[in-house]
Symmetry: C2
Subunit: 236 residues, 2 copies
Amino acid sequence: MVTRTESVTRRLREAVLGGAYVPGGRLNEMALAEAMQVSRTPVRAALGALFAEGLLDYEPNCGYVVRRLSLDEAVHIYTVRATLEGLAARLAAEIGLTDAARERFRETLDEMERLVAGDSWGDAEQQRWGDLNIAFHGQIIAASGNGYLANSIQRTRTLPLLTESGVRTFLAERAVVWWDRAAYRRSQDDHLDLGEAILARQGARAEAVMREHVERAGRLIGRKLANRSEAALALS
Amino acid sequence: MVTRTESVTRRLREAVLGGAYVPGGRLNEMALAEAMQVSRTPVRAALGALFAEGLLDYEPNCGYVVRRLSLDEAVHIYTVRATLEGLAARLAAEIGLTDAARERFRETLDEMERLVAGDSWGDAEQQRWGDLNIAFHGQIIAASGNGYLANSIQRTRTLPLLTESGVRTFLAERAVVWWDRAAYRRSQDDHLDLGEAILARQGARAEAVMREHVERAGRLIGRKLANRSEAALALS
DNA sequence: GTTGCGTAAATTGTGTACAAAAATCGGTAA
DNA sequence: TTACCGATTTTTGTACACAATTTACGCAAC
C-alpha cells in the first residue's frame, strides 16, 4: 500500500514536468486537494517535496509557484551537469565495464549509429534515438558506480521544461528534438568517441569528450532560448 | 514573523548535524513535538525537509531515522565534491576576481600562511585556520558566479558528521581538526598554488589543483574512518 | 486617475482527532 | 529454548477545524 502523499507527489511531479501549470503560476492547496480527491495534508507534503527537488518556488505564508528559470540559471545548470557527466565518464573508463555492460553499451551505440546513418529520419527515428541517448548516458552513469553522482546528475536533468505558447518540451532529456539532422550526426560522433575512450579505459579523454558533449548541447539550447525571449522557461 | 515549521527545521537540522541523535536512531514525531513545544504538524514538515536535504532516511509508515553513511558513500560524496569545487576554481580563474574580491582573497591567504608558518599552533590557531579555510573555499565558489554550483557544493558539505563514542566531529567542514601539522602545511601549499593559479587566470591549473586538494582531504578522512571500523558515520 | 487605507475574503499555518499501519509483547506450541 | 501467532500498544498517515497571515476589494481623499 502506498501512502496518499506518495501518489500525490508523483502525480503532481508529472503534471509540473509535463507543463500542466504555467511557470510562475500559483499552486492552490485547496484546488489541488479537490482535484486529487484528498485532503490538504498530503498535498502540502507533496508541495514540500517538489520544492526540495527544485521544481517549485516557495515563500512562507504565500504558497508554492512553479519554478521559473532564467536563461542564466539554465546555463549554470548545464555547466554543472557537463562536469558531473564528465566525471561519470572518467570513472566508467577507469573502472571499466563488465562484460555484460560492455555488450549492451556496444549494442546501444550500434543502434544509434544505424539510425543516424540510415535513409529514413522521421519522428519515429528521432524518438528512438532520444531513448537510446538517455540509455547511453545512463549506462555510463551506472558504470561509474557512484550513487551520489548518479543522483546529482539526475537532479540536473529531471525537470527542465519549456512552456511556450502552448508547446511543451522537456529541456534536458528531450532537448534533442529541436536539433537539425547535422546536430544529431555531430552528437553521435561524440558518442562514438566516448565509446572508444571508455572501452579503451582512457579516463581523461572520456571526461573531456563528455564535458564538451554536454556543454555543446547546453549552448545549442541556450541559443534557441535566447532567440525566443518571451519563452517561459521553467524549472531546474 | 517566521513560521514554526521554519524554526523547527532549523533547530532540528542543527541538532542532527551536532550529533544530538545517534545515527540510525529513530526520530519520534511526538517526542520531537513535545521537546520543541509544537504540534506534530511543523515537526513532520521539518522531517520531510531534512529528508530531502539528505540528513535523514525515511520509510513510509516507518518514520525517519538519522542517516547513516557507509564509508563507500562518504568516498563517493568526496569524489563529487572534489569535481565540483574544481569546476568552481576553474570558473573563478576564467572569470577573474573583482578588485575587492582579489583583495580579500589575498588577505585570507596571507593570514592562513602566517598561522601555519607561525610559532604557536594550538587549538585557537587550528580553529581560526579552519574558519579561514571555509572562507577561502567560499570566496572561490562565490567568484564562480554559478549559484546552482554553489548549492550543489553546499549539499556535499553541510552535513557529514561522525558520531563515535560520544565524540562528535564534523566530517566535511571541520575534518581538518584530525590532521597533524604537516597535513596543514601541505593543505596550505595547495592553497598557495590555487591562489596563484586563480589570480593568474589559469583555469585548467586551478581546477586540477583544487580537485586534488579536495580528494586528498577525502582520502585522509577515509583512512581515518577505516581505522575505526565501528565508527558510526552519519549523514551526507 | 491614482494613491492610500480599512475591511472582507481567500489562502496558508497549526493543532488535534481519528484511521491505518507497524512495532511490541505475551502466550502457545513445537 | 525457539519459533510462531495474535492482541495490544505505539507510531505514522490523513482529514478537518480553526488561527494567522496575506491578498483582494471598495471606498475615500488627493
